[in-house]
Symmetry: C2
Subunit: 275 residues, 2 copies
Protein backbone atom coordinates (compact mmCIF):
# COMPACT_ATOMS: atom_id res chain seq x y z
CA UNK A 1 0.00 0.00 0.00
CA UNK A 2 2.69 2.48 0.93
CA UNK A 3 5.18 1.53 -1.76
CA UNK A 4 3.61 3.97 -4.22
CA UNK A 5 3.73 6.90 -1.83
CA UNK A 6 5.86 9.78 -3.07
CA UNK A 7 8.96 10.46 -0.98
CA UNK A 8 8.10 12.69 1.95
CA UNK A 9 4.38 12.46 1.25
CA UNK A 10 2.34 12.15 4.43
CA UNK A 11 -1.12 10.67 4.67
CA UNK A 12 -2.48 14.26 4.55
CA UNK A 13 -4.38 16.04 1.79
CA UNK A 14 -2.67 16.13 -1.65
CA UNK A 15 -2.83 19.94 -1.52
CA UNK A 16 -0.76 20.02 1.66
CA UNK A 17 1.80 17.77 0.02
CA UNK A 18 1.85 19.94 -3.12
CA UNK A 19 2.59 23.18 -1.25
CA UNK A 20 4.95 21.61 1.31
CA UNK A 21 8.22 23.49 1.77
CA UNK A 22 11.35 22.63 3.71
CA UNK A 23 13.48 25.46 4.97
CA UNK A 24 17.05 25.09 3.71
CA UNK A 25 18.41 28.46 4.86
CA UNK A 26 17.20 31.91 5.89
CA UNK A 27 14.56 32.87 3.34
CA UNK A 28 15.28 29.74 1.31
CA UNK A 29 12.90 26.83 0.91
CA UNK A 30 12.87 23.60 -1.07
CA UNK A 31 9.73 22.12 -2.61
CA UNK A 32 8.68 19.56 -5.18
CA UNK A 33 5.96 19.74 -7.82
CA UNK A 34 3.05 17.35 -7.33
CA UNK A 35 2.08 14.95 -10.11
CA UNK A 36 -1.49 15.15 -8.78
CA UNK A 37 -1.65 18.88 -9.59
CA UNK A 38 -0.05 18.57 -13.03
CA UNK A 39 -1.51 20.73 -15.78
CA UNK A 40 -1.07 20.38 -19.53
CA UNK A 41 2.40 21.95 -19.23
CA UNK A 42 3.95 22.04 -15.75
CA UNK A 43 1.92 22.22 -12.55
CA UNK A 44 -1.46 23.96 -12.07
CA UNK A 45 -0.57 27.65 -11.64
CA UNK A 46 -2.89 27.99 -8.65
CA UNK A 47 -0.71 25.60 -6.67
CA UNK A 48 2.45 27.43 -7.74
CA UNK A 49 0.94 30.67 -6.43
CA UNK A 50 -0.25 28.97 -3.23
CA UNK A 51 3.27 27.63 -2.67
CA UNK A 52 4.73 31.14 -2.92
CA UNK A 53 2.27 32.44 -0.31
CA UNK A 54 3.12 29.41 1.81
CA UNK A 55 6.80 30.41 1.75
CA UNK A 56 5.88 33.72 3.37
CA UNK A 57 3.69 32.02 5.95
CA UNK A 58 6.24 29.43 7.03
CA UNK A 59 9.11 31.93 7.16
CA UNK A 60 9.70 32.68 10.86
CA UNK A 61 9.98 36.41 10.01
CA UNK A 62 6.38 36.57 8.71
CA UNK A 63 4.51 39.31 10.60
CA UNK A 64 0.84 39.32 9.71
CA UNK A 65 -2.03 37.79 7.81
CA UNK A 66 -2.23 37.83 4.01
CA UNK A 67 -3.37 41.08 2.38
CA UNK A 68 -2.31 40.72 -1.26
CA UNK A 69 -0.27 38.41 -3.47
CA UNK A 70 0.96 38.87 -7.04
CA UNK A 71 2.59 35.96 -8.86
CA UNK A 72 4.25 36.28 -12.27
CA UNK A 73 4.69 33.09 -14.26
CA UNK A 74 8.05 33.76 -15.90
CA UNK A 75 8.57 30.37 -17.50
CA UNK A 76 7.45 26.75 -17.44
CA UNK A 77 8.08 24.74 -14.28
CA UNK A 78 9.10 21.12 -14.92
CA UNK A 79 7.99 18.26 -12.70
CA UNK A 80 10.66 18.05 -10.03
CA UNK A 81 12.25 19.97 -7.18
CA UNK A 82 12.31 23.77 -6.98
CA UNK A 83 13.62 26.43 -4.64
CA UNK A 84 11.77 29.48 -3.28
CA UNK A 85 13.71 32.53 -2.14
CA UNK A 86 11.69 34.81 0.14
CA UNK A 87 12.82 38.20 1.41
CA UNK A 88 10.92 40.56 3.71
CA UNK A 89 12.04 43.75 1.96
CA UNK A 90 10.32 46.08 4.41
CA UNK A 91 8.43 45.68 7.67
CA UNK A 92 6.19 48.55 8.78
CA UNK A 93 3.89 48.98 11.72
CA UNK A 94 0.88 47.75 9.75
CA UNK A 95 2.28 45.92 6.73
CA UNK A 96 5.20 43.73 5.72
CA UNK A 97 6.32 43.55 2.07
CA UNK A 98 7.85 40.38 0.62
CA UNK A 99 9.70 39.69 -2.62
CA UNK A 100 9.84 36.08 -3.78
CA UNK A 101 11.49 34.08 -6.53
CA UNK A 102 10.85 30.47 -7.53
CA UNK A 103 13.84 28.85 -9.18
CA UNK A 104 14.44 25.55 -10.91
CA UNK A 105 18.04 24.69 -11.85
CA UNK A 106 18.92 28.33 -11.04
CA UNK A 107 16.48 29.61 -13.69
CA UNK A 108 13.64 31.91 -12.59
CA UNK A 109 10.32 30.13 -13.05
CA UNK A 110 8.18 32.65 -11.15
CA UNK A 111 8.47 35.91 -9.24
CA UNK A 112 6.04 37.16 -6.64
CA UNK A 113 5.37 39.95 -4.23
CA UNK A 114 3.24 39.53 -1.15
CA UNK A 115 1.92 41.84 1.52
CA UNK A 116 0.94 40.62 4.95
CA UNK A 117 -0.24 42.76 7.82
CA UNK A 118 -2.50 43.34 10.75
CA UNK A 119 -6.17 42.82 9.89
CA UNK A 120 -7.98 44.65 12.67
CA UNK A 121 -11.75 44.92 12.90
CA UNK A 122 -12.69 48.16 11.11
CA UNK A 123 -15.63 49.75 9.36
CA UNK A 124 -16.70 47.23 6.74
CA UNK A 125 -19.04 46.77 3.81
CA UNK A 126 -19.30 44.49 0.80
CA UNK A 127 -20.40 46.33 -2.35
CA UNK A 128 -20.02 43.44 -4.78
CA UNK A 129 -23.15 41.33 -5.04
CA UNK A 130 -22.93 37.53 -4.98
CA UNK A 131 -24.42 35.77 -8.02
CA UNK A 132 -27.80 34.16 -7.65
CA UNK A 133 -27.31 30.40 -7.67
CA UNK A 134 -29.01 27.28 -6.40
CA UNK A 135 -27.34 25.80 -3.31
CA UNK A 136 -24.33 23.57 -3.97
CA UNK A 137 -26.37 20.48 -3.05
CA UNK A 138 -28.71 21.17 -5.94
CA UNK A 139 -25.97 21.31 -8.59
CA UNK A 140 -24.51 18.17 -10.13
CA UNK A 141 -20.77 17.60 -9.73
CA UNK A 142 -19.17 17.92 -13.17
CA UNK A 143 -17.23 15.00 -14.63
CA UNK A 144 -13.96 16.51 -15.80
CA UNK A 145 -11.99 13.27 -15.50
CA UNK A 146 -9.19 12.92 -18.01
CA UNK A 147 -9.04 16.64 -18.85
CA UNK A 148 -5.85 17.36 -16.90
CA UNK A 149 -4.66 15.74 -13.63
CA UNK A 150 -5.16 18.76 -11.31
CA UNK A 151 -8.91 19.05 -11.89
CA UNK A 152 -9.35 15.69 -10.08
CA UNK A 153 -8.43 17.57 -6.88
CA UNK A 154 -11.45 19.85 -7.10
CA UNK A 155 -15.19 19.34 -7.08
CA UNK A 156 -16.72 21.57 -9.78
CA UNK A 157 -20.47 22.27 -9.86
CA UNK A 158 -21.16 24.58 -12.78
CA UNK A 159 -24.11 26.91 -12.27
CA UNK A 160 -23.53 28.87 -15.47
CA UNK A 161 -20.88 29.06 -18.19
CA UNK A 162 -19.51 25.53 -18.03
CA UNK A 163 -16.51 25.16 -20.36
CA UNK A 164 -18.14 23.17 -23.19
CA UNK A 165 -15.21 23.18 -25.60
CA UNK A 166 -16.18 22.08 -29.06
CA UNK A 167 -19.64 23.61 -28.95
CA UNK A 168 -18.63 26.84 -30.71
CA UNK A 169 -18.30 30.45 -29.56
CA UNK A 170 -19.95 31.77 -26.38
CA UNK A 171 -21.30 35.33 -26.22
CA UNK A 172 -19.73 36.04 -22.79
CA UNK A 173 -16.91 34.70 -20.67
CA UNK A 174 -18.94 34.67 -17.45
CA UNK A 175 -18.83 31.49 -15.37
CA UNK A 176 -20.46 30.81 -12.01
CA UNK A 177 -19.68 27.63 -10.13
CA UNK A 178 -19.50 25.98 -6.74
CA UNK A 179 -16.02 24.66 -6.08
CA UNK A 180 -14.11 22.99 -3.28
CA UNK A 181 -11.07 20.82 -2.78
CA UNK A 182 -11.55 17.11 -3.42
CA UNK A 183 -11.34 15.45 -1.01
CA UNK A 184 -12.85 18.27 1.04
CA UNK A 185 -10.27 20.23 3.05
CA UNK A 186 -10.71 23.07 5.58
CA UNK A 187 -10.08 26.41 3.84
CA UNK A 188 -6.91 28.41 4.41
CA UNK A 189 -5.20 31.26 2.54
CA UNK A 190 -3.06 29.09 0.23
CA UNK A 191 -6.14 27.07 -0.76
CA UNK A 192 -7.96 30.33 -1.46
CA UNK A 193 -5.14 31.35 -3.81
CA UNK A 194 -5.35 28.08 -5.72
CA UNK A 195 -9.16 28.25 -5.86
CA UNK A 196 -8.95 31.69 -7.46
CA UNK A 197 -7.16 30.09 -10.42
CA UNK A 198 -9.45 27.12 -11.17
CA UNK A 199 -11.18 28.77 -14.15
CA UNK A 200 -9.99 27.92 -17.65
CA UNK A 201 -8.70 30.87 -19.67
CA UNK A 202 -11.64 33.02 -20.74
CA UNK A 203 -10.43 33.00 -24.35
CA UNK A 204 -11.30 29.28 -24.46
CA UNK A 205 -14.75 30.01 -23.02
CA UNK A 206 -15.37 32.64 -25.68
CA UNK A 207 -14.03 30.66 -28.61
CA UNK A 208 -15.56 27.43 -27.35
CA UNK A 209 -12.43 25.54 -28.27
CA UNK A 210 -8.91 24.84 -27.12
CA UNK A 211 -6.67 27.89 -27.51
CA UNK A 212 -2.97 27.88 -26.52
CA UNK A 213 -2.96 30.19 -23.49
CA UNK A 214 -1.62 30.62 -19.99
CA UNK A 215 -1.63 32.99 -17.05
CA UNK A 216 1.28 35.42 -17.05
CA UNK A 217 0.40 37.27 -13.83
CA UNK A 218 -2.09 36.58 -11.04
CA UNK A 219 -3.06 38.91 -8.19
CA UNK A 220 -5.15 37.86 -5.19
CA UNK A 221 -6.65 40.27 -2.64
CA UNK A 222 -7.60 38.64 0.65
CA UNK A 223 -10.80 39.95 2.18
CA UNK A 224 -11.50 37.14 4.64
CA UNK A 225 -10.13 37.16 8.16
CA UNK A 226 -9.55 34.03 10.24
CA UNK A 227 -13.19 33.96 11.43
CA UNK A 228 -14.72 33.87 7.94
CA UNK A 229 -12.20 31.27 6.80
CA UNK A 230 -12.91 29.08 9.84
CA UNK A 231 -16.67 29.43 9.30
CA UNK A 232 -16.30 28.48 5.63
CA UNK A 233 -14.47 25.30 6.69
CA UNK A 234 -14.59 22.68 3.94
CA UNK A 235 -17.87 23.75 2.32
CA UNK A 236 -18.17 24.63 -1.37
CA UNK A 237 -17.26 28.19 -2.41
CA UNK A 238 -19.41 30.13 -4.87
CA UNK A 239 -17.06 31.53 -7.50
CA UNK A 240 -17.49 33.77 -10.50
CA UNK A 241 -15.12 34.60 -13.34
CA UNK A 242 -15.28 37.00 -16.24
CA UNK A 243 -13.16 39.12 -18.55
CA UNK A 244 -13.25 42.84 -19.26
CA UNK A 245 -11.19 42.69 -22.43
CA UNK A 246 -9.57 40.10 -24.68
CA UNK A 247 -7.24 41.33 -27.41
CA UNK A 248 -3.67 41.87 -28.66
CA UNK A 249 -2.66 38.45 -27.37
CA UNK A 250 -3.79 38.93 -23.76
CA UNK A 251 -7.04 38.76 -21.80
CA UNK A 252 -7.76 39.83 -18.27
CA UNK A 253 -9.80 37.63 -15.94
CA UNK A 254 -11.42 38.63 -12.64
CA UNK A 255 -12.65 36.20 -10.00
CA UNK A 256 -14.71 36.53 -6.83
CA UNK A 257 -14.88 33.82 -4.18
CA UNK A 258 -17.95 33.82 -1.92
CA UNK A 259 -19.10 31.88 1.12
CA UNK A 260 -22.59 30.33 0.84
CA UNK A 261 -23.79 33.14 3.13
CA UNK A 262 -22.52 35.90 0.80
CA UNK A 263 -19.23 36.66 2.55
CA UNK A 264 -16.53 37.78 0.10
CA UNK A 265 -13.46 35.64 0.81
CA UNK A 266 -11.13 36.95 -1.89
CA UNK A 267 -11.02 38.68 -5.25
CA UNK A 268 -8.47 37.90 -7.89
CA UNK A 269 -7.30 39.28 -11.22
CA UNK A 270 -5.01 37.88 -13.86
CA UNK A 271 -3.65 38.54 -17.35
CA UNK A 272 -3.64 35.55 -19.63
CA UNK A 273 -1.53 35.17 -22.75
CA UNK A 274 -3.28 33.60 -25.73
CA UNK A 275 -2.49 32.80 -29.36
Amino acid sequence: MTSNAAPGRSAGHPFDAAVRLTQVGEGRFGGHTSAEYANMVGPFGGVTAATLLRAVQVDPRCAGDPVALTVNYAGPLAQGPFTVEAEPVRTNRRTQHWALTMLQDDVVAATATAIVGARPETWADTEAVPPSAPSADEVKIADLAGLVPWTDNYEFRFVDGAPDLGTGPHPTSATTLWVRDHPARPLDHPALVALSDVFIPRIMMRRGEYVPSGTVTLTVYFHAGPDLIAAQADRPILATAGSDRLGLGFADQSVRLWTPEGGLLATSHQMVYFK
Copy 2:
Protein backbone atom coordinates in the same frame (compact mmCIF):
# COMPACT_ATOMS: atom_id res chain seq x y z
CA MET B 1 12.19 83.46 -15.34
CA THR B 2 14.45 80.42 -15.37
CA SER B 3 15.94 80.89 -11.93
CA ASN B 4 13.10 78.95 -10.29
CA ALA B 5 13.40 76.00 -12.65
CA ALA B 6 14.32 72.77 -10.91
CA PRO B 7 17.72 71.39 -11.89
CA GLY B 8 17.46 69.32 -15.05
CA ARG B 9 13.86 70.38 -15.63
CA SER B 10 13.14 71.00 -19.31
CA ALA B 11 10.38 73.17 -20.68
CA GLY B 12 8.33 69.98 -21.22
CA HIS B 13 5.25 68.72 -19.42
CA PRO B 14 5.53 68.41 -15.61
CA PHE B 15 4.66 64.71 -15.94
CA ASP B 16 7.67 64.08 -18.17
CA ALA B 17 9.87 65.83 -15.63
CA ALA B 18 8.34 63.81 -12.78
CA VAL B 19 9.02 60.42 -14.36
CA ARG B 20 12.41 61.36 -15.85
CA LEU B 21 15.18 58.86 -15.17
CA THR B 22 18.91 59.00 -15.82
CA GLN B 23 20.73 55.74 -16.35
CA VAL B 24 23.60 55.42 -13.88
CA GLY B 25 24.56 51.81 -14.61
CA GLU B 26 23.12 48.64 -16.12
CA GLY B 27 19.61 48.33 -14.74
CA ARG B 28 20.18 51.32 -12.46
CA PHE B 29 18.46 54.68 -12.82
CA GLY B 30 18.38 57.93 -10.86
CA GLY B 31 15.27 60.05 -10.50
CA HIS B 32 13.91 62.87 -8.37
CA THR B 33 10.44 63.35 -6.90
CA SER B 34 8.45 66.26 -8.31
CA ALA B 35 7.04 68.92 -5.98
CA GLU B 36 4.24 69.39 -8.49
CA TYR B 37 3.05 65.82 -7.96
CA ALA B 38 3.32 65.92 -4.16
CA ASN B 39 0.57 64.20 -2.20
CA MET B 40 -0.29 64.61 1.46
CA VAL B 41 2.65 62.35 2.38
CA GLY B 42 5.28 61.83 -0.33
CA PRO B 43 4.55 61.93 -4.04
CA PHE B 44 1.30 60.91 -5.76
CA GLY B 45 1.50 57.10 -5.99
CA GLY B 46 0.41 57.13 -9.62
CA VAL B 47 3.59 58.94 -10.61
CA THR B 48 5.71 56.55 -8.54
CA ALA B 49 4.14 53.65 -10.43
CA ALA B 50 4.56 55.42 -13.76
CA THR B 51 8.25 56.00 -12.98
CA LEU B 52 8.76 52.27 -12.35
CA LEU B 53 7.19 51.40 -15.72
CA ARG B 54 9.35 54.11 -17.29
CA ALA B 55 12.47 52.40 -15.94
CA VAL B 56 11.55 49.27 -17.91
CA GLN B 57 10.83 51.28 -21.03
CA VAL B 58 14.08 53.25 -21.02
CA ASP B 59 16.22 50.22 -20.21
CA PRO B 60 17.92 49.22 -23.48
CA ARG B 61 17.12 45.56 -22.70
CA CYS B 62 13.35 46.18 -22.81
CA ALA B 63 11.77 43.81 -25.36
CA GLY B 64 8.11 44.58 -25.84
CA ASP B 65 5.11 46.72 -25.05
CA PRO B 66 3.55 46.89 -21.57
CA VAL B 67 1.25 44.00 -20.60
CA ALA B 68 1.00 44.28 -16.80
CA LEU B 69 2.53 46.20 -13.91
CA THR B 70 2.28 45.64 -10.16
CA VAL B 71 3.70 48.22 -7.78
CA ASN B 72 3.92 47.70 -4.02
CA TYR B 73 4.26 50.81 -1.86
CA ALA B 74 6.58 49.53 0.84
CA GLY B 75 7.20 52.80 2.64
CA PRO B 76 6.92 56.56 2.32
CA LEU B 77 9.03 58.29 -0.31
CA ALA B 78 10.48 61.63 0.79
CA GLN B 79 10.84 64.56 -1.58
CA GLY B 80 14.27 64.13 -3.10
CA PRO B 81 16.36 61.81 -5.25
CA PHE B 82 15.71 58.08 -5.56
CA THR B 83 17.21 55.11 -7.38
CA VAL B 84 15.39 52.49 -9.43
CA GLU B 85 16.93 49.06 -9.92
CA ALA B 86 15.46 47.15 -12.86
CA GLU B 87 16.25 43.55 -13.76
CA PRO B 88 14.87 41.55 -16.68
CA VAL B 89 14.60 38.27 -14.77
CA ARG B 90 13.44 36.23 -17.76
CA THR B 91 12.97 36.87 -21.47
CA ASN B 92 10.74 34.49 -23.41
CA ARG B 93 9.61 34.42 -27.01
CA ARG B 94 6.41 36.31 -26.20
CA THR B 95 6.98 37.95 -22.80
CA GLN B 96 9.72 39.54 -20.72
CA HIS B 97 9.48 39.62 -16.91
CA TRP B 98 10.99 42.46 -14.90
CA ALA B 99 11.66 42.88 -11.18
CA LEU B 100 12.11 46.44 -9.91
CA THR B 101 13.02 48.16 -6.69
CA MET B 102 12.81 51.85 -5.84
CA LEU B 103 15.28 52.89 -3.15
CA GLN B 104 15.88 56.04 -1.20
CA ASP B 105 18.98 56.18 0.98
CA ASP B 106 19.34 52.42 0.41
CA VAL B 107 15.91 51.78 1.96
CA VAL B 108 13.25 50.06 -0.17
CA ALA B 109 10.42 52.50 -0.87
CA ALA B 110 8.65 50.39 -3.50
CA THR B 111 8.93 47.09 -5.31
CA ALA B 112 7.40 46.26 -8.64
CA THR B 113 7.08 43.56 -11.25
CA ALA B 114 6.32 44.29 -14.87
CA ILE B 115 5.62 42.20 -17.92
CA VAL B 116 6.20 43.47 -21.43
CA GLY B 117 5.75 41.51 -24.61
CA ALA B 118 4.61 41.28 -28.17
CA ARG B 119 1.07 42.57 -28.68
CA PRO B 120 0.03 41.04 -31.99
CA GLU B 121 -3.38 41.54 -33.55
CA THR B 122 -5.53 38.63 -32.35
CA TRP B 123 -9.17 37.75 -31.84
CA ALA B 124 -10.56 40.54 -29.67
CA ASP B 125 -13.66 41.56 -27.78
CA THR B 126 -14.51 43.97 -24.97
CA GLU B 127 -17.02 42.52 -22.50
CA ALA B 128 -16.95 45.36 -19.99
CA VAL B 129 -19.47 48.07 -20.78
CA PRO B 130 -18.47 51.75 -20.62
CA PRO B 131 -20.55 53.88 -18.25
CA SER B 132 -23.17 56.15 -19.74
CA ALA B 133 -21.97 59.71 -19.41
CA PRO B 134 -22.42 63.06 -21.10
CA SER B 135 -19.50 64.06 -23.31
CA ALA B 136 -16.55 65.65 -21.54
CA ASP B 137 -17.43 69.05 -23.00
CA GLU B 138 -20.76 68.98 -21.17
CA VAL B 139 -19.23 68.37 -17.73
CA LYS B 140 -17.80 71.19 -15.64
CA ILE B 141 -14.13 70.99 -14.64
CA ALA B 142 -13.99 70.48 -10.86
CA ASP B 143 -12.15 72.98 -8.71
CA LEU B 144 -9.89 70.88 -6.49
CA ALA B 145 -7.33 73.63 -5.95
CA GLY B 146 -5.62 73.49 -2.60
CA LEU B 147 -6.54 69.86 -1.89
CA VAL B 148 -3.09 68.43 -2.60
CA PRO B 149 -0.50 69.64 -5.16
CA TRP B 150 -0.74 66.71 -7.61
CA THR B 151 -4.42 67.22 -8.44
CA ASP B 152 -3.49 70.51 -10.15
CA ASN B 153 -1.88 68.38 -12.86
CA TYR B 154 -5.18 66.77 -13.83
CA GLU B 155 -8.46 68.02 -15.17
CA PHE B 156 -11.28 66.27 -13.31
CA ARG B 157 -14.86 66.35 -14.62
CA PHE B 158 -17.01 64.35 -12.23
CA VAL B 159 -20.00 62.65 -13.85
CA ASP B 160 -21.03 60.74 -10.74
CA GLY B 161 -19.63 60.14 -7.27
CA ALA B 162 -17.59 63.30 -6.77
CA PRO B 163 -15.64 63.11 -3.51
CA ASP B 164 -17.71 65.49 -1.38
CA LEU B 165 -15.93 64.98 1.92
CA GLY B 166 -17.83 66.41 4.84
CA THR B 167 -21.26 65.59 3.45
CA GLY B 168 -21.60 62.30 5.31
CA PRO B 169 -21.64 58.65 4.23
CA HIS B 170 -22.28 57.58 0.62
CA PRO B 171 -24.17 54.36 -0.17
CA THR B 172 -21.65 53.22 -2.81
CA SER B 173 -18.05 53.89 -3.73
CA ALA B 174 -18.74 54.21 -7.46
CA THR B 175 -17.24 57.21 -9.23
CA THR B 176 -17.37 58.09 -12.93
CA LEU B 177 -15.33 60.97 -14.27
CA TRP B 178 -13.62 62.41 -17.31
CA VAL B 179 -9.95 62.97 -16.61
CA ARG B 180 -6.86 64.10 -18.48
CA ASP B 181 -3.47 65.58 -17.77
CA HIS B 182 -3.39 69.32 -17.19
CA PRO B 183 -1.99 70.81 -19.30
CA ALA B 184 -3.19 68.29 -21.87
CA ARG B 185 -0.52 65.77 -22.90
CA PRO B 186 -0.60 62.99 -25.51
CA LEU B 187 -1.32 59.67 -23.80
CA ASP B 188 1.37 57.03 -23.26
CA HIS B 189 1.66 53.98 -21.03
CA PRO B 190 3.22 55.75 -18.01
CA ALA B 191 0.47 58.39 -18.13
CA LEU B 192 -2.10 55.59 -18.25
CA VAL B 193 -0.59 54.11 -15.09
CA ALA B 194 -0.81 57.44 -13.26
CA LEU B 195 -4.36 58.04 -14.50
CA SER B 196 -5.45 54.69 -13.06
CA ASP B 197 -4.56 56.00 -9.59
CA VAL B 198 -6.31 59.41 -9.61
CA PHE B 199 -9.28 58.25 -7.51
CA ILE B 200 -9.28 58.99 -3.80
CA PRO B 201 -9.44 55.92 -1.55
CA ARG B 202 -12.94 54.45 -1.70
CA ILE B 203 -13.13 54.36 2.10
CA MET B 204 -13.20 58.21 2.04
CA MET B 205 -15.98 58.12 -0.58
CA ARG B 206 -18.04 55.77 1.57
CA ARG B 207 -17.45 57.53 4.87
CA GLY B 208 -17.75 60.97 3.28
CA GLU B 209 -14.84 62.20 5.34
CA TYR B 210 -11.07 62.13 5.55
CA VAL B 211 -9.79 58.70 6.60
CA PRO B 212 -6.06 57.94 7.00
CA SER B 213 -5.43 55.56 4.10
CA GLY B 214 -3.04 54.75 1.30
CA THR B 215 -2.50 52.30 -1.55
CA VAL B 216 -0.33 49.32 -0.59
CA THR B 217 -0.35 47.58 -3.97
CA LEU B 218 -1.48 48.65 -7.45
CA THR B 219 -1.81 46.46 -10.54
CA VAL B 220 -2.41 47.80 -14.05
CA TYR B 221 -3.36 45.66 -17.06
CA PHE B 222 -2.71 47.31 -20.42
CA HIS B 223 -5.34 46.61 -23.05
CA ALA B 224 -4.51 49.43 -25.48
CA GLY B 225 -2.01 48.99 -28.25
CA PRO B 226 -0.10 51.86 -29.90
CA ASP B 227 -2.98 52.62 -32.29
CA LEU B 228 -5.61 53.15 -29.59
CA ILE B 229 -3.19 55.22 -27.51
CA ALA B 230 -2.30 57.40 -30.51
CA ALA B 231 -5.98 57.85 -31.38
CA GLN B 232 -6.78 58.85 -27.79
CA ALA B 233 -4.07 61.54 -28.01
CA ASP B 234 -4.64 64.23 -25.35
CA ARG B 235 -8.43 63.92 -25.09
CA PRO B 236 -10.22 63.24 -21.78
CA ILE B 237 -10.48 59.62 -20.63
CA LEU B 238 -13.71 58.27 -19.18
CA ALA B 239 -12.81 56.52 -15.95
CA THR B 240 -14.74 54.52 -13.39
CA ALA B 241 -13.77 53.33 -9.90
CA GLY B 242 -15.45 51.13 -7.36
CA SER B 243 -14.78 48.73 -4.52
CA ASP B 244 -15.87 45.13 -4.03
CA ARG B 245 -15.09 44.97 -0.34
CA LEU B 246 -13.90 47.26 2.44
CA GLY B 247 -13.01 45.68 5.78
CA LEU B 248 -10.32 44.46 8.21
CA GLY B 249 -8.25 47.57 7.51
CA PHE B 250 -8.07 47.19 3.71
CA ALA B 251 -10.29 47.94 0.73
CA ASP B 252 -9.89 46.91 -2.88
CA GLN B 253 -10.46 49.38 -5.69
CA SER B 254 -10.96 48.61 -9.39
CA VAL B 255 -10.64 51.14 -12.19
CA ARG B 256 -11.44 51.11 -15.89
CA LEU B 257 -10.09 53.70 -18.33
CA TRP B 258 -12.08 54.23 -21.55
CA THR B 259 -11.65 56.26 -24.72
CA PRO B 260 -14.60 58.51 -25.65
CA GLU B 261 -15.46 55.91 -28.33
CA GLY B 262 -15.69 53.04 -25.81
CA GLY B 263 -12.22 51.56 -26.28
CA LEU B 264 -10.86 50.01 -23.08
CA LEU B 265 -7.38 51.44 -22.54
CA ALA B 266 -6.50 49.78 -19.25
CA THR B 267 -7.96 48.20 -16.14
CA SER B 268 -6.42 48.55 -12.73
CA HIS B 269 -6.83 47.08 -9.27
CA GLN B 270 -5.41 48.08 -5.91
CA MET B 271 -5.56 47.30 -2.21
CA VAL B 272 -5.77 50.31 0.05
CA TYR B 273 -4.90 50.36 3.73
CA PHE B 274 -7.23 52.36 5.94
CA LYS B 275 -7.67 53.12 9.63
